[in-house]
Amino acid sequence: MKPPELRRVGVTVNGTLHERTIEPRLTLADFLREELQLTGTHLGCEHGVCGACTVLLEGHTARACLTLAVQANGKDVRTVEGLAPAGELNPLQTAFWDKHGLQCGYCTPGVLMTLTELLAAKPTPTEAEVREALSGHLCRCTGYQNIVAAALEAAARLQK
């Protein structure tokens, strides 16, 4: 088998430009996790259903398992590690803590990224809008209830 042709990419992740030489087939998720050691982006299904790997690509949610790293070349990526300064929690993360919006924590980073996008676009969402936004995420622990509660709580706090 012919060895794959390598590509040079530069991806800005959480404000820092990272340049790497990679195989074209490398997914964005594996790029973040393996090349950059940003393991907060999790893989739950690797076929685009569970949403655990959700990141923001140019400000919009994307499945990092279905996005190739080369597609992020020259683009801006935000992951859970970029939500708050080191050692701190932002208001959305704090609301998750206060409202018990996570249990095992595996789906949580992806959920946080989707809600970050939602709250940016719609600062005072209804419960139905939060549930609609979350419908692309699977969580086996929480029954979604406290995720919804945390999102609404974060929205309310951010209005203050």
Partner: protein, 767 residues
């Protein structure tokens, strides 16, 4: 007060920052990646495996089959999880199967390579020559006369048969005013934690030491199994569970892949990582799957139950990795919260050419609950009685608690419903859902062309399964308080709960306590996370250990402060004379007990400020749930919308209501999946056909209702905490309640779960 408060979890800040460390996040220098070659056939002989092409690929370190593992000193056959003399020999899976494949997904070979990408490429290049054999595709096929054998070595497709019975069953039925019969088809899918399985193994050749990190619910069992199958001294092996992204039963098993990964690391002298993908979870992680129930209920004229009898046929799958405990749980939990004077259930555990089954969240109780609640609803319908009234007449009354059933749990101890107020819980739940005026709501909706239905169900779940869980509490000379336990954290918040329990005894803050679980390097004994057990078992041990530490600290402080022990209190990290500022820090007490070379310790105490307790139990603490739900069915499409869901949960003394509610939410939604969505489908050749999460439906945020949780607190008299487990109670009655509500809405009897929209339309068409 710390115990009983809605304390934020100590686990969370790290996880919220994306700084958790799950198995896949572990990176080691020189680490290789594994991928498995899995059977595409439900049943076949392996004629030949050609590894040459795979081995020749750049970046491939090794391609291993059963032959290479055996040559490397690996015992190929997994031990039975719960050893039993009641089961035949040679029923467990292989680390890699040598000659025959018995389900789609069974591992035949393992590729180890420099990356997962290369490992998967090479796995695809392994050429296996199979000779297909006829498969046993389901329970009906397994029972058919002349059915092919599930494995060539099997004597019969029936793994085992047993009967659970008490009372005068023939008399109960002969003298009954009414007997009703039901045939119920039940299916529970798989566990599907969002993190699949995964293991990383590191072998240090110079020291002959092995470290395995695994996403497991049973670190200690994995430890002992690795030692046995690899032929290594157990004191040179460490198993550590990193952050575990959910388990729900799928990880309460030592799997062939965990052994294979460790064997490869030892063979190659390099770390090896295997991370399951979702398709592998569908075809190679355990499921719970099918049960067929043929049951009858006998009642008197007043709808009082006289007896229940019948047969349960349970799907074990191709191998039996653990036991027949799921079927046993089902058989011993049918009577649940009711007084049933006579009972007999014959259990047939049948083997099929499908993924092995062991318990998933609920562990056979949901099916037993569904069976009993369907029978009770049937009695109400036939006798034209209200469903709640039939339950009132048959529930074990609070005044009869503790109520011993003439049944035994698998420890051989009698099944004793320890405490609770089932009828009272029902009344609370009915009030919350507005049961008394539902008929008016239903007819008003009907007049508007809508179909509403209501369903109710009771569940009783044995929790806190023993024999023990370990608990060590230690205060170091720096003042640091640590809790160690063989418990296994997989998202339940057990670290927070144990920290709260310890904090309450020691007068420190829960967030200042470090909790270490699931690591055999720190704790020698542990059973892990299953059966809603850890708060009861580990919690009791930690509470008792913390009390011993407290007593010791007070004794030493009393000597040092020249005060009476009874005048001392522990608060804010010190022992002080109550009402004064005279005190001694716990760190200072720990320093005294650490000893100084050559100098004596304080009189009358052992060194160290720590204690270990293994609180033991054979009894289960029975957690009660009463659920009520209201649904709307679109009779044109069969679509079901859950309008309201009330879940009353009695989980004994509450340590953290925030966590308890979260467990109930998740449990109920798992049950909703089992009622409406989750079906692991196979074709007639036992080929799995739902192998992505787009085909196998887990409930999502838009289908599930807001769950109204009511907490009732009847402390269990059987453990020092008074606690009952809550991990599974939320799941147990859901399918029964939801299916009853759909039945009520469409007016057609339903005797299966899950039910799809298409099936509802079909039932309506046959009406």
């Amino acid at each position: 007060m710390i115990v009983g408060t809605r304390t934020r979890r100590i686990e969370d800040p790290r996880l919220l920052r994306g700084a958790g460390r799950y198995a896949a996040d572990i990176q080691l220098p020189g680490m290789l990646h594994a991928a498995f070659v899995r059977s595409p056939h439900a049943h076949a002989l392996i004629r030949n495996i050609d590894l040459r092409a795979a081995r020749d690929m750049p970046g491939v370190a090794a391609v291993l089959t059963a032959k290479e593992l055996e040559a490397a000193g690996v015992r190929l056959r997994m031990p039975l999880g719960f050893p039993s003399t009641m089961l035949p020999e040679n029923i467990t899976p292989f680390v890699l199967t040598p000659n025959e494949v018995c389900f789609v997904g069974e591992a035949v070979a393992m590729v180890v390579a420099e990356s997962r990408y290369v490992a998967e490429d090479a796995a695809a290049a392994v050429e296996v020559d199979y000779e297909p054999l006829p498969p046993v595709a389901d329970l009906e096929a397994a029972l058919a006369p002349g059915a092919p054998k599930v494995r060539r070595e099997a004597q019969s497709n029936m793994l085992t048969q047993f009967t659970i019975a008490y009372g005068d069953v023939p008399g109960a039925f002969a003298g009954a005013a009414h007997v009703f019969r039901e045939r119920l088809e039940q299916h529970r899918g798989a566990a599907h934690p969002i993190e699949g399985r995964g293991a990383v193994a590191r072998y240090e050749p110079g020291e002959d030491r092995l470290t395995v990190w695994s996403s497991t619910q049973m670190a200690h069992d994995l430890w002992m199994t690795l030692a046995a199958l690899l032929g290594m001294p157990d004191d040179r092996i460490r198993v550590s569970a990193p952050d575990v992204g959910g388990g729900f039963g799928a990880k309460f098993l030592v799997y062939p892949e965990e052994i294979a990964v460790a064997a490869a690391a030892r063979l190659l002298g390099q770390p090896v990582k295997w991370i399951e993908d979702r398709m592998e979870h569908f075809v190679a992680a355990i499921q719970e799957r099918d049960q067929l129930w043929d049951v009858e209920i006998a009642v008197d004229r007043e709808a009082k139950i006289r007896g229940v009898r019948g047969r349960l046929v349970h799907d074990q799958g191709a191998y039996t990795p653990q036991s027949t405990n799921c079927a046993y749980n089902s058989a011993t939990s049918v009577t649940g919260p009711y007084i049933v004077p006579a009972y007999a259930l014959e259990v047939w555990a049948m083997q099929t050419n499908k993924v092995p089954t062991i318990p998933v969240r609920g562990a056979g109780y949901p099916q037993a609950c569904f069976t009993m609640e369907r029978l009770v609803d049937r009695v109400a319908r036939e006798l034209k009685l209200d469903r709640a009234e039939v339950r009132r007449r048959n529930l074990v009354p609070a005044a009869k608690m503790p109520y011993e059933k003439p049944l035994k749990n698998r420890a051989g101890a009698p099944i004793v419903l320890d405490s609770g107020d089932y009828a009272g819980g029902q009344e609370k739940g009915l009030a919350a859902i507005g049961y008394s005026d539902f008929a008016a709501r239903k007819s008003a909706a009907r007049a508007a062309g809508r179909h509403l239905g209501i369903g109710i169900a009771h569940g009783v779940k044995g929790t806190g399964r023993g024999p023990f869980e370990s608990g060590t509490v230690r205060i170091s000379p720096s003042g640091r308080v640590s809790v160690y336990s063989g418990a296994l954290a997989m998202g339940q918040g057990i670290h927070t709960a144990l920290a709260q329990i310890c904090a309450a005894e020691l007068g420190v803050a829960p967030q200042d306590i470090e909790v270490i679980t699931g690591d055999t390097a720190y704790v020698s004994l542990g059973l892990g996370g299953f059966a809603s057990r850890q708060l009861v078992t580990a919690g009791s041990s930690v509470q008792l250990a913390a009390r011993q530490v407290r007593d010791k600290a007070l004794k030493v402080a009393a000597q040092q402060l020249e005060a009476a022990e009874s005048d001392l209190e522990l608060a804010d990290g010190e022992a002080r004379v109550a009402g004064t500022n005279r005190g001694m820090k716990l760190s200072a007490i720990a320093r005294l007990l650490r000893g100084v070379p050559g100098y004596s310790l304080p009189p009358g105490v052992e060194p160290g400020l720590e204690a270990s307790v293994h609180w033991q139990t054979d009894q289960l603490a029975y957690a009660h749930s009463f659920h009520a739900c209201e649904v709307e069915v679109d009779t044109a499409t069969g679509g079901v919308k859950i309008l309201r869901y009330v879940a009353l949960q009695d989980s004994g003394r509450l340590v953290n209501p925030l966590i308890v509610e979260g467990q109930v939410h998740g449990g109920v939604v798992h049950g909703i999946g089992n009622a409406l969505y989750e079906r692991m489908r196979f074709d007639e050749a036992a080929q799995p056909i739902t192998t992505t999460l787009a085909d196998y439906l887990l409930p999502t945020s838009t289908e599930v209702p807001r769950i109204e949780v009511l907490l009732h607190e009847s402390p269990s008299p059987f453990n020092p905490l008074g606690a009952k487990g809550v991990g599974e109670g939320g799941t147990v009655p859901v399918a029964a309640a939801v299916i009853a509500a759909i039945e009520d809405a469409i007016g057609v009897p339903i005797s299966e779960a899950p039910i799809s929209p298409a099936r509802i339309v079909e039932l309506l068409a046959d009406k």
